[in-house]
Symmetry: C2
Subunit: 265 residues, 2 copies
Amino acid sequence: MSFEQDTAVHRDPGGGWVADLQSRWNVGDNPNGGYLLAIAVKAMIADAGRPDPVTVTAHYLSPPSPGPVMIRTQMVKPGRSFVTVMAEVIQGDRERVRVLGAFGDLTHRRGPSRISARPPDIPPPDQCRSLLDLTEQAGRPVPEIMNRFDLRLPPDSPWGRPSEGRPLEITGWIRFKDGTEASTVGAVAFADAFPPTLLGSVAAGWVPTIELTVHVRGRPAPGWLLGTFRTRVLVDGLLEEDGELWDCERRPVALSRQLAMVLSP
Amino acid sequence: MSFEQDTAVHRDPGGGWVADLQSRWNVGDNPNGGYLLAIAVKAMIADAGRPDPVTVTAHYLSPPSPGPVMIRTQMVKPGRSFVTVMAEVIQGDRERVRVLGAFGDLTHRRGPSRISARPPDIPPPDQCRSLLDLTEQAGRPVPEIMNRFDLRLPPDSPWGRPSEGRPLEITGWIRFKDGTEASTVGAVAFADAFPPTLLGSVAAGWVPTIELTVHVRGRPAPGWLLGTFRTRVLVDGLLEEDGELWDCERRPVALSRQLAMVLSP
């Protein structure tokens, strides 16, 4: 089974789409939010007739369990440059995720470019440490989803070593462990695949996502992606996680931001 | 007329809400996107029964003209912490803006705080220069909306002086000119009130917003707000504008991000 298979959507003869959530992408008992969004995005791409999720926003309403879901889509606006689509991910009688997005074809865009952001400067993947190994060595529980990604942290990463004063930030290399090369849909999943920025620094039982927006800005070159996620404003238990994803040719792939909430340990 | 009056929404006896778009908030022939979003947010707040737009995302589909609009809302999910609502802003037979948001009460939140972001360090408003004055002195057209805000740029601001190499960034003080103290709804309008970051640096006829997301993180203290807007990744004519708003007590009020598109001059 691969990311592509596990996110497959099928037309429901009664209208809309169906998919089967796999527990392989669980964190605890529930499928990860980036995985859920990737599934919704696949249905939306098919309806939009455009390959790239240029900007997608998910509101997480109620965590689903592994198993079948329905995806009800609505064409909000067809357009020349972008097609806007809404989706509802439904399990049982409850809506679980509401998604709004604009889809286009990034390879057909023309216009000025100027990039002042730079990818983080860390050693190559083979000189970095596997998050899975680090987690196992620390005797911590390994969420099922952690087996789906090859995620490597730089040798000097403070991650896993509790340190109250450090910046709320995590940087590393990522790719699918099954060998799937990341598409722009894969990039959406990567935008929610890193451990929470708070981990080890701020006491938290869990940090559920309220809303996640991903702007996919380029199709990734084959190979590793480089991700960095940062929290600068944690106020009364609400925080943003700002993400940047770069491909191995140092080109920007996606900017993401989520609003999350700290639940007590 | 004030911001509060110009953004007033009224229940439509036939269901939903109505509002009257005022040309006073126009950029060219069309009302500004932050003004439109503030109107939708007022209807959504009324339906949610929660005062603060904690995270709202607008997709701009088709620019409306001044005049009446309908706002059709849908309760997506009632909840204890947050209430999720969707809205459609409709004029004539066309949907103009689709909004998805989660609403709460920021004064009731409890949880850890840690803020590493800092407000930009610029001179106080009385030592800054009025954007309106600068625009008039430069002999440039003054968009109607520029008369609604008192927006002051630091004396060393490169804004208005074309300079190809400078960072795509604009910082300044802002408040409503009519004396309205900003609420969390006002903060939503402020998140789209600054001139485009590209202006003077990248040739552009217009920079329409595709999608705008605002996370309101605190209720502003009365007085001036400090805003800073930055573009770091302009690729093939697509760009983000990342905004931060702080109140005059140096507390964070909102983080915003929009995806926009460069149209040729």
